[in-house]
Amino acid sequence: MTVNVLLVADSDSQLLACQALARHGDGREVRFTVNAIPREGTPETVLQALERGGPLWRLTPLQLLADPRLDDFAAIGVYLTGSKLAEFRSVYQLSREQQRRPRRPLFCGFNGVVLERFEEAIAWRLGYDLICLNGPRDQARLELLLRHTPFSGQRTVLTGLGRQRPQAPGNERPRRMVFAEQVVMPAALAERRRLVRILARLARRSPEWELLIKPRVAPHESTFHAVDTHISHTLRDTLGSPPANLQLSYAPLPKLLAQSRLLGTVSSTALFDALDLGCRAVVMDDFGLRPDLGTPFFAGSGLLRSLATADDLDSLAAAADPDPAWLHWVGYHPQFSPANLLEALRELQTHPLPPLQLSQPGYVVNAADLSTNQLRRGAETAIRCGDLEEATRLLEMAQLQRPDNRNISRRLAALRLRPALLRRLALLVTPRFRL
C-alpha cells in the first residue's frame, strides 16, 4: 500500500532538504507532496525543481492546518526553523483535538550537516514523533543531551547525508572545479576577499581548468542568513578583472557537480552532494579549524587541503579520498537513508506511541509552548476567558524574551491598569496579537 507523506517547508535550504527526501518517493511504496509556505525571496528555481518532482502546494500554515486533505496523509514532515517547528506541532495537535480529527505522526529533521547549536535545535524539536538525524555522530550527541532526563524516550531515526541519486565518477568530465560559496562562512569581508584572492591565484596556476564559483543565492534571492555583500560584488571589488578561467555560475548545483571533477568548499553540505554525483571534493583549510566556519566538523574527513599552497587543481583532484570511518560517523553511508524513515513511520502506524510529555518539573523545553508567539496567543486566550492573572503571567514571560516589542509592553500595561473599567478600555484599544 502506498504511504502518502506531506512535507512542509519555507526557506530555500529547508525546501532543498524536502527535495532530497522527496527524491526517495517512488510513487508505489511512498508518495511525497511538498507544501512550500509562501515566502518572499524563495528562489524560483528551487520551487520549479520541486514541481518537477511531484505535487507542490503553496499554502500558508493556517490554510494548511484547515485543509481537509491533511487527513489523507499518513505522516507529516515539518522542515521549518526552530520556533515555527514547535508552533506547527503545537497548533497541529490542538487543531486535531478541537476538530476531533485523527492525529498523524509528525516528523522533522535537519537540512544538511549541523555545524553549530545542535542542542538548541533539539530543544525545539522535542515532542515530534520522530526526529530525523544524519548519523551516529548526531545520535550520540542527542543521547548525551537527553540522558537521565524525562525526554530520553524521544524517538529518532538516521536518514543520512546522501541527497542525490548516486552517479559514477567520470574522468572524462571536463577539468572543472565548482566552489560552493556560503554566505557567512567566512563572514568578515576581509576574509571573503582573501578567499576570492586564493581562488583567483589557484585558477591562474591551473590554466587548463575552469574554476566556477557557485553563489549560495543570486543577488535578488534570500536565504536564512542576511548578507550585506553578495559574492559577485566581492569578486569584482577584490579582483577588478578576474582570470578568464574563474567565473561565477548560477546553474543548479547538482547539474554543475555532475559535470565537474572537483568540488571545493569551506564547510558546505554540498560536499555530500558532490560525493553522490561522482565528483571529488576538498575542504578548504586555509582559515584553519574554526568553530565559526564549521570546519572542525570536517577535520577527520581526510579532505582538508590548503588551496593557497596547492600546486594546482590537478594535484588537488589527484588526492582527495574521504576517510570511510569518518563518512560513516557523520552519516554518509548506505545504512543511513530515508528508507529508515519509512520503516520507522510504518512502525509508528502499527505501534503508535503517546506524544512525549514536554512539561516536566525542573525542565524547560523550547518546544513546550515557549515561543513568544505562543505565549502571546495564550495570553489573548486567557484575556478572552477572563483569566487576567494568567494573561499577565504569559505576557511577562513574553516580555522577558522580547523586551523591545512595544505591543507586548502595551498589552501588559493595559492588563495592569486599575480600575477594571480603565483596564477594559485599554485592552480594547491596545493591539491584540494575531498570527
Partner: protein
C-alpha cells in the same frame, strides 16, 4: 612531583589556585605562574592552604620560554584560544634551541562547558600531552572531537569539577531568607532585556519584604561603578534611585560568602549555579529565555533545576524546588572524588 600551573587572570586564576591546593594536598609541589598574585580566598580544600602554593609573577609567553620552567616535571597550561597554541609552540621552540626536552604539558577546560563552547575550547588544546576534562560528559565530547579529527592516542584524564568550589560548607543561612541572583554581565546581552529582568526582580522584592533579594555579580566588575556594563543587573540596580531596602547589590569579591549564606539561588547561565546545586541550595536556572546556546542553556538543560520566573513565585515556593538531577551532576564531574590523584598518576605515567 613539581608542577607549574599557568593562567592569565580570572576565572583561570581562581580555578588554578583551587587545583593547586588540591594537588599540594595530594603530595605535589605546586607553583602558580601568573602576573596577578593568588588571592587568599575561601573555598580551597580542607587541609591545604594557599600558603602551600608558590607563585612566579610571569606572563604566559614569558613563562613558556623561561629557564625557570625547566625545573618543573609538568606544566599545566590553563589559558584559552590562540594563547594555548602560542604557549605550546613557544615552549617547544625554546626547548629545541636549548637542546633539551620540552616540559610535559597538560591542559583542560576550566569552565563547566558543553556543546559548541566545549568544542571551541578543546580544539586548541589538541596536541597537548594530556587533556584533563571534568567529567564523563566532557570526556565523551572530547572522544567525538578526537574521532572527528582522526586523532588517536591523545592522553586524557577526568579531573572532576575542579574549577568550582564544591567542598562541603558549614555556614548556617542567616535568619532572613536570601534569594541570591547570580548576575552574568553578558547575559542577556541587551541592556533593555536586563532592565526588564531588573524591574521584575524589583517587583518581587517589593512583594516579598520578608526576603532579601541580592544581585550578585558572578565575576568581579570594574572598581568604578560608572564602568559597569549596562548589560548587568547591577548597573540597573545602581540607576534605581528608589531601590527597595531588601534589594541589595553584592560585590564580586563576596561571591563565595554570598553563595554560602544564600537560602536560594537564581541565575541564567552562571557556572556558579552548579556550586549552589552541589551545596544543596534550592536553585532556579531561569528558563524564560528557553534553551539558548549563548545563555549556557545546553549545559543546564538536564540539571532538573530549570524553571520560569513566574513558576518560582512566591519566593516561599523556592524551598520546594526539585533537587538537582544527580546523574546530570555526576556526568559534569561531581562523581569524581580523586581527580588530583588521577592527574598525578597520569602525569607520572607520561613522564619520559
Amino acid at each position: 612531583m613539581r608542577l607549574g600551573l599557568i593562567c592569565d587572570g580570572e576565572p583561570g586564576l581562581g580555578a588554578c589556585q583551587r587545583l593547586g591546593c588540591a594537588l599540594a594536598h595530594a603530595g605535589a609541589a605546586v607553583t602558580l605562574i601568573s602576573t596577578a598574585p593568588p588571592a587568599g580566598r575561601p573555598g580551597t580544600p580542607a587541609g591545604a592552604s594557599n600558603d602551600a602554593l608558590g607563585w612566579l609573577p610571569l606572563a604566559p609567553l614569558a613563562a613558556a620560554t623561561s629557564d625557570l620552567v625547566q625545573g618543573f616535571d609538568a606544566l599545566g597550561v590553563f589559558l584559552e584560544g590562540s594563547a594555548l597554541t602560542a604557549f605550546r609552540s613557544a615552549h617547544q621552540q625554546a626547548a629545541e634551541l636549548r637542546g633539551r626536552p620540552a616540559c610535559l604539558l597538560f591542559t583542560g577546560p576550566f569552565r563547566p562547558l558543553c556543546g559548541d563552547a566545549l568544542m571551541a575550547d578543546l580544539l586548541p588544546r589538541l596536541g597537548y600531552d594530556l587533556i584533563a576534562v571534568q567529567g564523563e560528559a566532557q570526556r565523551q565530547e572530547l572522544d567525538w572531537l578526537l574521532r572527528s579529527c582522526g586523532r588517536s592516542g591523545q592522553a586524557q584524564v577526568m579531573l572532576g569539577l575542579w574549577c568550582l568550589p564544591t567542598e562541603p560548607i558549614g555556614h548556617a543561612p542567616p535568619q532572613d531568607p536570601v534569594l541570591l541572583v547570580l548576575d552574568n554581565a553578558q547575559v542577556p546581552p541587551s541592556p533593555f532585556a536586563n532592565r526588564v529582568l531588573y524591574q521584575r526582580l524589583r517587583s518581587i522584592a517589593l512583594e516579598t519584604p520578608s526576603w532579601q533579594v541580592r544581585l550578585q555579580p558572578d565575576a568581579p566588575l570594574p572598581p568604578d561603578p560608572s564602568d559597569w556594563p549596562e548589560t548587568s543587573l547591577l548597573w540597573h540596580g545602581l540607576q534605581d534611585r528608589q531601590r527597595p531596602a531588601n534589594l541589595q547589590l553584592g560585590e564580586g569579591d563576596d561571591l563565595l560568602l554570598a553563595l554560602m549564606q544564600a537560602s536560594a539561588c537564581l541565575g541564567i547561565g552562571s557556572s556558579w549555579l552548579i556550586t549552589a546545586m552541589v551545596w544543596g541550595k534550592p536553585t532556579v536556572v531561569l528558563g524564560d529565555y528557553g534553551i539558548r546556546t549563548e545563555f549556557n542553556g545546553p549545559l543546564f538543560f538536564g540539571s532538573g533545576c530549570m524553571a520560569r520566573l513566574a513558576d518560582s513565585l512566591p519566593l516561599e515556593r523556592l524551598r520546594e524546588r526539585p533537587a538537582v538531577n544527580a546523574a546530570w551532576l555526576d556526568a559534569r564531574g561531581w562523581g569524581i572524588a580523586d581527580g588530583p590523584a588521577r592527574l598525578l598518576r597520569q602525569l607520572e605515567a607520561l613522564r619520559p
